[in-house]
């Protein structure tokens, strides 16, 4: 390419690029400190970074390890995740182009590679004394010891006493702190400025790429696949090559002890999109999977609700304008538009529609159900009318079974993996002994468990609950009619239910308290709780998130009436 210097070792001009963006000589595998300068900041769609096996071209250390950087680790993680997604059916473009380019852009923007020498940072070993001249001597920068005592929400990786006490005795060798070259440096970086990479953020990258390509996977599905093990996340570092030794502070970066939370991944994704200065994402139109009309159809099916409800969801979507391209499409950096959670939004629309038609005040829906039951008994011609009661019983039964199973699986989930993790060499034998004991105990009690614990992961499926119309037992409600709850007025079908109750009269300020409304503090009808619980299970998120969206939709829907009658009513007549 454009780098024409002669190699210092072999005098050849035959250069390639490592993953870290450094030049290496293809003849003798000598790695330089020079990095490739990027001329423009647009997407590099045609360049292909050649990967080399980690063993070559890197300085080999005594223990058979090599020098590696944290971002190389993350790159491997992303690669694995992208491969998994491809195996699930996502188009290969995601892995080969989109994700790749996003990542490179990130590396460049955060000055970890593809740019002039990273500001102020060298990759020399971090010496013990905090006032090292190599590192930016920022008095506010937390010391290593301070970092160790910080407790993030996860785990107790830092409470290993032997680790903390050994820091003060350690020499210049970085292998005690971290297997990576810049592990400690990485943790000490100021997070706010450069959007430091974390494990949950890898999922933000994935989701961002999926959104760009408008793939039919919602964020809740993505996270569910992660928990179910179809997408590497938990112990993904065990797939790092042998030579990339992981220990010490690396563990804090790569070992997770909790499952990623929707909000966290979602918010990070938006931060990332803005950070990378991405342009407007490809349009989400009404033929996209992520469009509320589409998602509503899917969720209605999964919730075993009548197909006819789809007309109503479409009407609501249209009325409040949440089906518009400009509303749905992501415009990074635009602070004024509300960020769209496609899956939660669709679920919330369904909830609102159910409230519109059935009121869900713990009385009316049962009343309607009784009428429908009467009608169904006496008139078996034509399709059955939808009976809320029957539907409730059916769905509740299935839901309870699934929920119980999910709870048990969560309790049985294994977090550790075969690859042993230790902070320092001192720690190693203790860790290995413990691991051995754990394996022994697992064998001993595993034999007494009776049923063989199936190592097979369940096949990934988009639908968690499925109902077949072919079943003659009447368990499927898709084809049921809403006639029992509708009436004709002026040639138009409207709900028989004249009332509606608002979840909240006034929306909170999201920026101040984090929520639009407060689900837990108010008592709502049991039916409402049930419906929220159903979607909470399907999307694997807290019901309060759905509740927030419901409030938002209601306020858009009843906008005019609200401003008129704000002081007097909480129950409105439509």
């Amino acid at each position: 390419r454009d780098f024409n210097e002669r190699c210092a070792q072999c005098s050849e001009v035959n250069w390639g690029l490592t993953d870290g963006g450094r030049f290496y000589c293809r003849s003798c595998h000598n790695v330089t400190e020079r990095t490739r300068e990027v001329v423009n900041t647009d997407f590099i769609t045609n360049s292909r970074v050649q990967t080399i096996s980690k063993g070559l071209g890197k300085q080999e250390k005594n223990d058979g390890g090599c020098e590696w950087y944290i971002c190389e680790g993350f790159q491997l993680v992303l690669k694995k995740q992208a491969e998994a997604l491809e195996a699930l059916g996502v188009c290969p473009q995601m892995k080969d182009e989109i994700l790749c380019n996003f990542w490179r852009c990130y590396l460049q923007k955060s000055k970890q590679a593809y740019c002039k020498r990273p500001a102020g940072e060298t990759v020399k070993a971090l010496s013990v004394c905090e006032s090292s001249t190599d590192v930016d001597s920022d008095p506010e920068r937390p010391s290593l010891l301070h970092l160790l005592s910080l407790s993030e929400s996860e785990g107790d990786l830092q409470t290993d006493c032997s680790f903390a006490s050994s820091v003060s005795k350690v020499s210049e060798s970085t292998s005690v702190y971290s297997g990576s070259v810049d592990g400690s440096l990485y943790l000490m970086k100021n997070q706010k400025e450069k959007l430091r990479m974390t494990m949950p953020m890898t999922l933000s990258f994935c989701y961002m790429a999926l959104l760009w390509l408008r793939e039919p996977i919602t964020l809740s599905e993505l996270l569910r696949f992660v928990v179910e093990g179809h997408i590497p996340y938990l112990n993904v570092f065990q797939h790092f090559p042998e030579k990339m030794k992981l220990c010490g502070l690396d563990l804090r970066i790569f070992c997770v002890e909790s499952w990623p939370v929707y909000e966290e991944v979602f918010n990070k994704m938006h931060e990332l999109a803005a950070f990378l200065d991405l342009p407007r994402f490809p349009d989400i139109t009404d033929s996209c999977f992520l469009h509320p009309d589409m998602l509503c159809m899917k969720y209605l099916m999964e919730a075993n609700l009548p197909d006819e409800l789809h007309n109503w969801t479409c009407r609501v979507v249209k009325k409040i304008g949440i089906g518009e391209v400009d509303f749905l499409t992501l415009m990074p950096g635009n602070k004024s538009t509300r960020k769209v959670k496609y899956d939660v939004l669709a679920a919330a629309v369904i909830v609102v529609v159910l409230k519109l038609l059935f009121l869900l005040d713990d009385h009316y829906e049962w009343l309607l159900s009784e009428f429908a039951e009467e009608r169904n008994k006496s008139n078996t011609e034509g399709g059955p009318y939808f009976e809320f009661k029957k539907w409730y019983e059916m769905v509740k039964q299935s839901l309870d079974v699934k929920q119980k199973k999910l709870d048990e699986e969560r309790a049985k989930s294994l977090w550790r993996c075969e690859k042993p993790l230790f902070y320092s060499v001192k720690n190693k034998s203790k860790v290995l002994k413990r691991r051995q004991m754990v394996v022994n105990l697992q064998n001993q009690f595993g034999k007494l468990s009776g049923s063989v614990r199936c190592a097979e992961k369940p096949n990934p499926s988009s639908f968690q609950l499925s109902w077949s119309e072919e079943n003659t037992d009447g368990s499927c409600f898709h084809g049921h009619s809403l006639k029992g709850v509708l009436q004709e007025k002026c040639g138009l079908l409207t709900a028989m239910n004249p009332d509606y109750w608002l979840c909240t009269v006034k929306l909170c300020n999201e920026k101040l308290c984090g929520h639009l409304a407060h689900y837990r503090e108010v008592e709502f009808p049991q039916s409402y709780h049930f419906i929220l619980g159903l979607f909470s299970f399907l999307l694997r998120i807290q019901p309060s998130y759905i509740h927030d969206e419901v409030c938002m939709i209601e306020h858009k829907l009843f906008n005019k009436k609200l401003y008129k009658k704000l002081k007097y009513n909480t129950v409105l007549r439509k």
Partner: protein, 412 residues
């Protein structure tokens, strides 16, 4: 926004543990094992801030499962215990001790002894001092097993001497066990606590070798030293010892007095009452009446013919002598509201008559005196008895009729 609902390692293990506990409560050993298999990896995390760490949990839960699971064997159990011993040095002796208990329950005396000896020789820096109490217990139990061996040797010796043989070797061994046992047993009973089995064995040894003074001292300490927790058995042991020694009624009575205070329903109350009734001192006789009434307050004594006969005898004697009727009145005062339904219902009359004629006889006597000849219990039983032409019932009827005015004075 806070993520307290976040599912993490700790929460997942907490949930796992509660599933294990539920399974244990319902005796679903397979299910408990299944979840324990998933729980054990918590050993790889640091829980030093928790009150009960995973290693202790695993020890306790695992012990239960392996002890009860149908497919588990003693071999597996022992293997598990050995692993648990290495897990927590602060718990080492406790684990050893519990292991020994299980071995004893399984009849593996020799293995238990080996384990105790091994544990006794354990030293671990300052832990040895900290776990001093457990060490004493271990020594005490080894002493107990030594006693058990001594006892076996003693029996062999006695058998042999009956046959005319004398075996010096056996005798020497026996004495050896005695010395070993005595040392350890003596140590543990110095510490305030409930040491029934150790005390009994130690006293047995002392008595055999004729050291009655020491035995008496030990038992007195055990019963009367206020530092020791109140223990009815201590008084029982003392009483039994004094009886064996042929002590005077006076000291026997004094030994049982506290027992009556602590456990008025104790089976020895019959002996107590019998002794007291016969006493020349009025106070003692009075106490005797109190004792027997108090014992019969308890449901467990309802059908005890001996107790009723004691009461009947004493009541009869008082009535005949016409002295101290006020004693009966005093005792009856707090009981007249509920004893009739409790002891003297018509239903009980029928049942007692059917099942145990002597019981019904004694009770009828008491009922007749306390409630008069009109009381249903007495009427039913005496009629049945007379119908069956049993002499003593005829005499009973006559007796009660004759002394009916007594009832009036008592109940007034």
């Amino acid at each position: 926004s806070s993520h307290e609902h976040k599912l993490n390692f700790r929460k997942s293990k907490e949930a796992c543990l509660s599933y294990i506990q539920d399974a244990l409560l319902q005796k679903q050993w397979k299910r408990a094992a299944e979840f324990l298999t998933c729980y054990v990896e918590s050993l790889e995390k640091d829980y030093s801030r928790e009150h009960i760490g995973p290693s202790e949990m695993i020890w306790r839960v695992g012990t239960e499962i392996l002890w009860h699971h149908p497919q588990s064997s003693m071999k597996e159990f022992n293997c598990f215990m050995e692993q648990m011993k290495t897990l927590g040095v602060k718990r080492y002796l406790k684990v050893c001790l519990e292991h020994v208990f299980h071995l004893l329950c399984n009849g593996q005396i020799d293995e238990a002894y080996q384990n105790l000896s091994l544990a006794e020789s354990w030293r671990f820096g300052e832990q040895t001092a900290i776990q001093d109490k457990e060490m004493k217990l271990i020594e005490a139990y080894r002493g107990l097993l030594d006693y058990y061996s001594w006892s076996k040797q003693k029996n062999i010796l006695l058998e042999n001497s009956e046959d005319g043989f004398s075996d010096l070797a056996v005798e020497q061994e026996m004495h050896g066990y005695f010395r070993k046992a005595a040392v350890n047993l003596k140590e543990i009973i110095k510490i305030p606590g409930v040491w029934d089995v150790f005390v009994k064995c130690y006293v047995d040894l002392l008595e055999f070798y004729g050291d009655h003074n020491e035995a008496r001292q030990v038992l007195n300490e055990y019963a009367y030293n206020s530092k020791f927790p109140a223990n009815p058995n201590a008084h029982v042991y003392l009483y039994q010892f004094l009886k064996r020694q042929g002590e005077s009624k006076k000291s026997l009575i004094s030994a049982l007095k506290i027992l009556h205070d602590i456990v008025p329903s104790h089976e020895l109350m019959i002996d107590f009452n019998t002794m007291l009734q016969k006493s020349k001192k009025r106070k003692k006789r009075r106490l005797g009446l109190e004792v027997i009434f108090a014992a019969l307050d308890y449901a467990g004594w309802k059908e005890n013919a001996k107790a009723w006969s004691c009461l009947a005898r004493q009541v009869k004697q008082i009535v005949i002598s016409e002295k101290h009727l006020d004693w009966i009145k005093q005792e009856w005062n707090s009981r007249k509201d509920w004893w009739p339904a409790f002891h003297f219902s018509r239903y009980l009359a029928k049942r007692n008559w059917q099942e145990n004629k002597s019981l019904s006889y004694e009770k009828a006597l008491v009922a007749g005196i306390l409630l008069g000849k009109g009381c249903k219990y007495f009427k039913y039983v005496s009629r049945q008895g007379c119908k069956a032409q049993l002499k003593r019932f005829r005499m009973l009827k006559r007796f009660v009729n004759r002394h009916n005015p007594v009832y009036l004075r008592i109940s007034g």
